[in-house]
Each structure stands twice: as C-alpha cells, then as structure tokens.
Amino acid sequence: MSGLLLLLAVVAAEPPPAPTQASSFDEKVLSDADQREAEMLGYLDGVGFLGRENEATVEVAYGSKQIATTRLELAHAFPISGKLLHVVARVGAGMATDFHALGLHGFTAALGLRHITGKGHFFVEVGARFLGGWQGIHGDRPEAQTLALGATLTSGAADDARWLPLRSSGLQLYVDFLSRSKPMGYDHSGFFVAGFHYGGQATVVPPAVSTWLGSEPQFVGNVFIEAFLSFATRQGTPVRLTTGAHVDLSLSSIWPSNVPFPVVLDLFFEWHPAWVSWLSLRAFGGLAVSLGAFGDKIGQGGLRLVATF
C-alpha cells in the first residue's frame, strides 16, 4: 500500500514549474481552477499559503510510560514581495512530566526560508533552529534523561531536541518537505490527494546535554516521514479529512547503548473543519520504541491543534 502511495505521489505530484525567464519563486496568477484547488487543499500547506501568515500549534500527548507532554509553537511567515517565498520565524517551548520530575524543556527558536508552489503541491522549508540552553528542573539527575527519552517516545515525534535538558545552547539545521499529488477523483464522488511529508534536523553546533555525569556535547537530530491521504471533498461537500502514518527516528548520540535510536510509529487522523478553515485537529497514536530494546515498546497518543491564520 505504501508503495502504491509512493507511486501515486511520484506520478501525480506536480513538480515545481520549469524555470522560465521569471524565477520559479515568482508569484503567478493562477487560473480559476488552480485557485479553487489551492483553496480546497490549502489546509495541507501550513503557514505562508493563501495569505495565512501566522500559525499556532498546541499539542498534548500521553503514553504507557505514564509521561505526559505538551508543547506550544508560534510561527509567523514574512512574505517576500513578489515571491512564493516567506521567511518564517518560529518559537516553541514544551513541558514533559512523569508526575515525579517535572521538566520545562525545549525552548527553540527557528528561522527559515519557506517556498510553496502556487498550487500548493509542494513546499520546502529550510532553516536553522536554535536550541535554548535550559536544563530544566533536576536536569542534572538521571531522572531528567529518563524523562527526556520517555517524552521523546511519547510525544509523537522523535525530536528529542525538544525534551533534552541542555546546559548550553545549540544550533540545528532543518529541512521540511511536503509533496502531494494533484487532486484525484471525480466531482460526483469526491477528490483526494496523496502525498509525503518528510524532513529532519541535525546539529551543526552541538548543545551540551546536561547529565549527572557532566555536560556532554552531543549530536542531536532526527528524521521523519509521513505518508498521507487527504480527502478534500465528498460528493461535492468539503470533508477535509487526512489520514496517514508517521515514522520518526532520532539519531541523537546521547542515548545509551541499551536504548539507542528512539523511533515513533504513529497513525494519525486529521480534521480540518471547513467551517473553521484556519483550524486543524490531529489525533495520533501508535507505538514508540528504542531500536535496541524492542521488548520495551510503549503505546502513546495525543492531539495536535494547529491554527493557521
């Protein structure tokens, strides 16, 4: 099935327009049909599309390790006049708790360049993400590391930069791609698209992870990929439901030898209400495990609310 989706996405995705005298990043006047498509499916493209220059994300998650995570991220896209380009600034912070060792972690700030094609079939965002040096409460104790790993596995994204207690700041480079097909289907039945969302981040300036053994400069990074199907309409009525699978793998070097490479495998279901076009609600859930400790897998799930306006 995933192979079929991949084939569909590859076949159906509209590549960025071939360069002409004008840059492919130049804004273009869309045809009416393309404009309708963009408006119908623009919920997939996030901040910077269709004039929506602000984004707020709130997510909560909980897992069988009895760890709860929550995270807030705000983003603003600054348009570059005449271009399909935005400079995007993001700030975020999160909190994880095992109900014993509360930790406030994950202050991040990012600055990137985001390009979305005119019809929204493709976007790419590249940038740098600053990891704030904040070791949280009890950051120099083993419980903080255990909590960080647990939060990574629970949160639905193996982005451990959000959760690690850091004694000094670091810098990551990140890249985020989305590639989707053109709408498929029929007017009388409905239209859907298939696509992939993938990317990752990696340190270029290693932060010093706080451990009880001392500060340890470490590589912090992860990669993810999502495959999705999004149903835009059904029998002419906007539906705007997306479902898919998300796989997220941490490559960070901090994790000990018995629990290396935390990986999250989630299914998700996302609703973008037509009557609140700037809102998106995702429910996700699945398994998370460290690749070296298959016997110790956990179940986790959560909700993510994204407002793009």
Partner: protein
C-alpha cells in the same frame, strides 16, 4: 630534605622512571583513556586538577552515536577489569564518589596530569622515558561499527599514532620549559638535570613499525629508545606469551608481519618448565547481533586442535569418556627473531636480526621488555657488550645462577610468565652495563586466603533482596557457608582422591559427560611449572556421582615437548621417590566435558545442554596414613552447572590459609575478590540515565566466638559508609567478571570470618546478580613487596650495585600501578628528595584534589588509592625510605638510577666510555625486618 648519598662528584642524584605514557590520551584514536594531562589552571604540584566528568559509555565527545556508546559499554569495562576495577563514573561535577578517581587500578582514566609529573619531579624524578603505545585492533574496535568485517590491519597505523603522541609530548615540554626538557643525548640529559629540570627521553613502544619507522621518528622527534617487539608477534620477532587477549590481537594483524602474509595466525607455542601456561583456547572476533558490534568467541575446535596448545586427547577419538592423564607444561613463544614457524625452523630468518643491528648501529637504546624468551636471548647475543634495557619487568627464576651466599630468596613464590625477564638474561644485561626497570604493576603481593566460597552461584542477589553474606562455619544470619580448606594437613601423602557429589543431573541429549579434573604439582623447583593432570569420568547413579582418582607416582622433572599437544606421562624411571602430598594438589574441579561438536573439550555450552544441580560435594584425601576430608562443600544447592557455567572448582591450593607459610603479612590489610556468574547479566553501571548500582562489601568478624556482620546500611543509604567499601564505584560489573578491592581490619587476621555484600541504588526490575566465587585474603603490603623485591633483584642480579635497578612504572599503560599501601607515609617523611638548583624547594604537602572553591579538596592518599597518580611517586619514595631494614638502600639506589641510566646510554653511544666512570656504591639491601 634528605642529604644526597655521597656517591661522588658530578653524579646525578635523582631517580629514573624508564617507562611511562604521558600522551596516552592521544593513543587508541583518542578514545580509550579519558581525561587530559593538560589543565589550563595554575600548576600546583600539591593539587591534582580534576578531570572532566566521564560520560562512561563513550570517551569521545562530541558523541558520535549510540553505536559508539554500545561499543564503549562493552570495551571500557573489559579493559578496566584487567586491573580488577570497574569503569566508574569519575569527574568533577559532583553526585559521584571522588574515591573512584584517581585510583591505581583505574586504567582508563588519566594518571599523568602535568601537575602530577611536576610533583614526581619534586619527589626526585629526574629522568623519564616518555613512551608512546597503541594497538590498532583496540583502536579499530573503538572507532566504529562493523569492526569484524571492516578491519584490515594497516602498516602505518602504529607509526601515525606514535607521531601524534610524540607531538603532544613535545608540546608539553615546550609549554613547561622551565622545568621539563627533551634530551636527545645523555649530555643533554645531564645538562637539563644540572639545570634543575626533568629530562624526558622519547621512547616508542609500538606493536610494529615500518622498516624506516624508527629512523623517521628519530629524525622528526628525536626518539632515542625503542621497543622492537611489543604485545604482538611482529616482523622483528616474537612477543612474550602471557595474555590471551593479545594472542587474539596478534592474530588480527599477523598478515602484516608474517613472511607468508597469512592472516589470523595465532602464536606458535612450545613447551617449557620455565613459565606457566597462561594461554588457553584462543578467541576470535565475531559479530554480535545487531551486526554492528564486535564480540569475542572461542575459535573452532579444529583450529584449537591445530594450534597444539594443550593435549586435547581427553575429548578426542573413540576412547573419549575414559580416564586420561597427561602432563601440563608451561608455554613460551616458539618465535625468537623470526617471522613465523617456518622461518624459525629453517633458522635462516634475518629480518629481525638485521633491523636490530641497524638500531645498534644508530646507538638506539633497545628494550627487551615484552620480548619472548628466545627473542631476548637472541637479542642479547647479537651485539655482546652493547648496553640494553629492560624497562618494566620483574625477574623470573631469580635464584637460578645466583650466588649461594648470601642465600637467595625469591619472594614471587610461583613461576612468572615469559613476560618477565629471565634472571640469567638480566645478569647478562647488567654485565653489559644495561639497566632494569622494576615494574610497579597491580597484584604484586602475596596473599593468604582467609575465606573462600565457590558455587554456581554462591550468592544470588536481586533488587528485592540486595544483600547476602558468606562466612566460615556457623553463625547468625543466613550466610552461605565457606568451607574449611585446611582440614587435611599439607604434608599428608596421597594415593588417591575420592570425589563424591549429590544432586540431579540431566544430560539433555548432549554428547557430554561429567568429569573430575585433578591437577597436581610435580617434583620440580618452585619457579618451574610442570603439572600432572588427571581427568576421570564421574560415575553417576541416582543423585550421586563419584570417582576415585588414582594419583600414581609423583613425576620428576620431564623434558618438555616442543608440541604442547603431545600426551606426556612419566614412565617408572621418571618417578620421584616421593608421593604426591596434599601440598601438591593444585586444583580439583568437577566439570562437564563436551565430547564432540563445536564445543568439544569445552566445559561450557552456548545452547541448551546438560544441566547438573549439585547439592553438595566432598573431596577426600586417601593415603597410606588413612583418609582425611580435603574439603566438604554444601550449598543446597551448591551449584547449577549449565550453559556457560560448566565447571565448579572444589579445591585449589591457594584456598588454604597455610598455603603461603612465612609470608610477611600483617593481617591488617585484606583483599576481597568477587566473580560474577557468566550466565547472568552482571550489574548495570552508571549511564546518563542511571546512577548505577553500588556494590558494597564489608568484612564479617568474629566477636566472642560468633561471626558477625557489620552494621547494616540504612534503608535508602546508597553509599558504602562506615565499615562498607565500594567494590564497583557505580561502574558496570560484567557477567563473568572479577573485581577486587581492599579492606582493613584493626584486630587479628583470625577474627575475619566472612564477607557481606549489599547492592545499593539498584533499579527495580534489574536482573538478579549471581556471584560465583568470593575470596577474602590477608595481603602483604604491596609497597613493602616492591621494596623487598627491589632488594632481591639488586642483590641477586646486580650484585648489590646501586642505581642499576630503576623504576619502570608504566603509568597510563593500561596495566594499573601499585594497588595500595598498607601504611600511610610517616609523618614528616614527605620531603623533597632533591635540592633544586634554583631559588627554592617547593614546599611539599599531602596531595589533594583541586576544587573550584575555597574548601580543600579530598586527599589523594597512597594508603587509600594506591599509586593512583604520577605525583604519588613522591609519597612512594618516602614510604620506600621509611621501610625497615633495606628502605634506605633501596631509596638511595633509586636516587642513583638516573645516573646509572645515563652511563648506560653513554656507553651505547661510545663503548670507550665504559671504564671512565667511578663505580657506583654497593648496598647490602638486607630486608630482614619482615612486615612492618
């Protein structure tokens, strides 16, 4: 300050350390030894700068990934166990015990900070041979995944590593030019020392260098001292056969050095009585699942058989399963200065001799340490009269060839491996004006067993029941019983041994049989190795297994076979007139023997195999005078022999408290050794996610006739306080690993009756810990042993000439250094040993750890941590001087060792210099005072 011995004008007064590794942090891809020798703070020789917090699972930061950590989690504990020490989380950031670092037995953390070198210099060090080292097998193992498939030995690996280390030493000398300098000639060294500086002589101790490697290093760095052979057989010749690990390393690089270029070729051994037999079934590298890690596994039976290391006839052929007897001889490397067996047998090998002659022609200081016996003999014969060096060795067969008056005393009490220089070779070296460095390694002391308990396991601890104990005889508490091993007198003559066990036995379909293995010492000299081995199958009926082992005649000295796999038994003419006695019984072991397949002749099984639950066992000595129990063991169950745990030793000679009569043991210092079950998981040590379990031990003592344990650790107490001592310092304790530590007792030796073990800070859900053996022994003062040994060597090798024996500490050499001192440095004895030519003498104070605040740091004491850091050499020399009887002679001789070494060097440059020196004094070196 102690006045210099009046040895004449222009005589350098100060000691020489002929072997140390100040740049070890650059070796092994800079991934093995943690902590830098360089500290940015002001240099105070009485304050030891802390090292950065050790990440434990890696010694490389920034970290390179979980694979790096997985490899580190295997490698560092294994390397640390060489010295019986766990790889503890050490460093400066609090939340960890400072007693873990520095420690004499901590081989994977820095021991030679520059401040420490300075303190040794204040203590009289004037000449240091600063050496490089490496092993490309270990370096490759630490450098990344898929080692097994990706490792290809590189000809220049050792040379490149030596260059990095030499560059660091040169930088150190440059940065501390006020008191350090590199000497490229003895004249330069004398000038440096006269100027009040420490003279460094650059040295290379590498496994193998390309043909022009030595010349390149001399040209680029001024290296003067060389080890032609180190831990592996190389193109020059054979290494001493002493370590199973380096047999595997030798095989891994054999394609580089053999004339036939074959890979994975293990050492070729021949039989001898002069050395023991340390090499068993070799190991090879294998992938571990997931296929990114390297592991060690036994070589296939066929390979083992072809190597001919021991007679395997017991498991071979249609007669397998019957009683077998054979003689077990010692091992030495067949290779001298030749590249492989064919070369050696043909006698036409010239490469090794040619390369050595080239070194002599260029007036190198050439070192015999690490050479095989044959290689050392052939090197000595190559250029008679040329002064050689043996920088860090003990002396084997000390009393062979020694004058009979005064009577020769050899305190080693057992044959030493080929790694130690033969005494006749040592005398030849000294006659040619060479110098010796007496090693200060771990474990150099005599012990007297007090409590020994074995089982499979003897104790099982778990997070819900983390404490246990063993004790002699009955007493309060639910302790495992340690047997009395001295029931039969040592002098009792023997005809046979009767072995009986009770318990359930299940062969499980394996082609295996239970055996009893008895090893007896034949009628040979104390420093020789020749053992008679009897393998007798046990006859089992119901739950009882029994065997009678007929001992037969006591063999006299037999000619060792070249092929160690030959089955040699004495004929009637070769029997001695005496019978075997209890004192000759070295070992009685019950074991499974697999008779076929991949595990043939092995006692353990990797898969499901036989299972033998022993409830109890008894060995009875039977002789002309009757029968006496040798040992009775009862554990109910005593042992479960299954999988990797396939053997149980019922009795060993060293278990007896009367095994070391006359040893200078005060009975106030004890060593406790514990061995974890190979079938278990051991104890997880520290990591970023856990503090690591803390294994605490304490002596049980007899009070009013009752054997009692110490005050229990309070609930929630995670440190080893009061009478408790930490065995693991929160480091990992691998399954099948042996750790030891020291404990003190203020009363009499006989009061010690057992040992308590308690695992603290143990994570719930952790796997249980099985402990298969516990041994508590009274121990001779290791510093005192070194002093007496020095005196013996000075008397019986150097004819009492002072200065000929220097120190060969091998600090940072992954071996560990003198474990501990029984005694503290006497008050007011900590004095600078040398007056400096400049304005003042550095005030000497007890060494402390430097802290960032005002409060003084923890003391670093030799009586707590051993020779834990180079700066404690000052304390060591002060202790030596205070030793009753021969202490002054030893100390004065040490203080003339720099002079003797410089003279040796001058003769190497110009043979005509011989005879131009006024003789150095002769000392009595009489250590008649016994234990202090």
């Amino acid at each position: 300050m102690i006045a210099p011995f009046d040895a004449g004008p222009d005589v350098v007064w100060g000691f020489a350390d002929l072997h140390a590794h100040p740049a070890i942090e650059k070796a092994f891809n800079a991934s093995l030894v943690w902590g830098s020798a360089v500290d940015p703070g002001p240099l105070d020789p009485n304050l030891l700068p802390p090292i950065a917090g050790c990440p434990v699972e890696t010694h490389t930061l920034p970290g390179v990934g979980p694979i790096d950590r997985a490899i580190g989690a295997q490698v560092y504990p294994n390397v640390s166990e060489v010295a019986g020490f766990a790889h503890a989380p050490v460093g400066s950031d609090g939340l960890r015990p400072t007693s873990a670092w520095p420690n004499a037995r901590d081989v994977v953390h820095q021991q030679m900070n520059v401040a420490s070198i300075r303190r040794a210099y204040e203590g009289g060090l004037r000449l240091m041979f600063a050496s490089t080292t490496d092993d490309q097998v270990i370096s490759a193992l630490l450098s990344g995944p898929n080692f097994v498939n990706a490792f290809a030995p590189k000809e220049r690996a050792d040379l490149d590593s030596a260059r990095r280390q030499l560059a660091m030493i040169a930088q150190l000398a440059h940065d501390h030019a006020g008191w350090l300098g590199i000497a490229r000639s003895p004249a330069e060294a004398r000038a440096l020392i006269r100027a009040g500086k420490l003279a460094l002589v650059l040295s290379v101790e590498m496994n193998g260098l390309p043909e022009d490697g030595f010349a390149e290093l001399r040209r680029d760095f001024g290296v003067q001292h060389a080890f032609p052979i180190h831990l592996v057989d190389n193109a020059i010749g054979g290494t001493a056969a002493s370590s199973p690990l380096f047999n595997a390393a030798s095989a891994a690089v054999s394609s580089l050095y053999r004339s036939d270029g074959r890979s994975m070729q293990y050492m070729d051994l021949e039989g001898t009585r002069d050395f023991p037999a340390p090499l068993g079934r070799p190991v090879t590298f294998a992938t571990l699942d997931p296929p990114v890690y390297a592991d060690l596994k036994d070589v296939p039976f066929g390979t083992w058989q072809q190597l001919c290391y021991e007679p395997l006839a017991a498991c071979d052929g249609p007669d397998a399963g019957g009683p077998v007897g054979f003689t077990r001889f010692g091992q030495q490397n067949l290779r001298g200065l030749c590249r492989d067996r064919a070369d050696c047998d043909a006698g036409t090998a010239r490469v090794g001799a040619q390369r050595l002659q080239a070194l002599f022609d260029d007036h190198w200081l050439v070192d015999l340490s690490h050479m095989s016996f044959r290689a050392a003999a052939q090197t000595l014969a190559l250029r008679p009269g040329y002064p050689l060096m043996a920088s860090h060795s003990d002396i084997a067969h000390l009393c062979r060839g020694a004058p009979t008056l005064p009577p020769c005393v050899d305190s080693t009490r057992a044959p030493l491996t080929e790694r130690q220089l033969d005494s006749e070779q040592a005398r030849a070296l000294v006659r040619d004006d060479g110098v010796l460095g007496l090693g200060t390694g771990v474990g150099n002391f005599v012990t007297r067993a007090r409590v020994v308990a074995r089982g499979a396991p003897v104790l099982t601890l778990a997070p819900h029941a983390p404490s246990g104990c063993v004790q002699l005889g009955e007493g309060p508490g639910d302790c495992a019983r340690a047997p009395d091993f001295a029931r039969a007198p040592r002098s009792m003559e023997l005809e046979r041994l009767q072995v009986e066990t009770h318990g359930a036995l299940d062969l499980g379909g394996a082609d295996a049989r239970p055996y009893v293995r008895v090893e007896l010492r034949d009628a040979v000299a104390d420093d020789e190795f020749q053992h008679r081995v009897k393998l007798v199958p046990l006859h089992c009926e119901g739950g009882t297994c029994s065997a009678e082992v007929e001992l037969g005649c006591k063999q006299g000295a037999l000619a060792p076979p070249r092929a160690l796999c030959s089955v040699v038994n004495a004929d009637a003419a070769q029997c001695s007139t005496a019978r075997y006695t209890v004192a000759d019984v070295e070992d009685v072991t019950v074991q499974w023997l697999s008779l076929s397949g991949a595990g043939q002749c092995a006692a353990g099984f990797h898969d499901e195999g036989p299972r033998w639950v022993l409830d109890d066992a008894q060995v009875t000595a039977m002789g002309p005078a009757g029968a006496q129990p040798l040992v009775t063991l009862d554990g109910s169950p005593l042992a479960t022999l299954a999988q990797a745990d396939g053997a149980l030793t019922l009795y060993q000679h060293d278990d007896r408290p009367d095994a070391a009569p006359g040893a200078p043991i005060s009975g106030r210092l004890f060593v406790a050794s514990l061995h974890s079950s190979p079938n278990g998981k051991g104890v997880l040590g520290a990591s970023p996610q856990r503090f690591g379990a803390n294994v605490c031990i304490a002596l049980r003592t007899r009070e009013g006739g009752t054997c009692r344990g110490p005050a229990a650790l309070a609930e929630g107490e995670n440190e080893c306080v009061g009478d408790w001592v930490s065995l693991t310092q929160r480091g990992a304790w691998n399954h099948g690993g042996t750790l030891f530590t020291f404990l003190r007792h203020r009363g009499t030796e006989e009061e010690v009756c057992g040992l308590d073990v308690s695992v603290r800070d143990w994570l719930p859900g952790s796997d249980p810990l099985g402990i298969d053996s516990i041994r508590v022994a009274a121990v001779e003062d290791p510093v005192g042993h070194w002093v007496r040994r020095y005196a013996e060597v000075a008397r019986h090798v150097a004819a009492g000439r002072m200065g000929v024996v220097a120190m060969g500490t091998d600090f940072n050499g992954l071996n560990g250094v003198t474990d501990i001192s029984e005694l503290p440095v006497p008050a007011a004895a900590l004095l600078p040993q040398v007056c400096r030519a400049d304005a003042g003498v550095q005030a000497v104070a007890p060494l402390r750890l430097r802290t960032s605040g005002e409060a003084p740091g923890a003391p670093v004491l030799i009586e707590e941590r051993g020779l834990a850091t180079y700066g404690l050499l000052q304390d060591f020399v002060s202790l030596v001087d205070a030793y009753p009887g021969c202490g002054h002679d030893v100390r004065n001789s040490l203080m003339l060792s720099a002079e003797a070494t410089l003279r040796s060097w001058e003769i190497a440059l110009d043979a005509g210099a011989r005879g131009s020196f006024a003789p150095l004094p002769v000392g009595a070196f009489r250590c008649d005072g016994g234990a202090p």
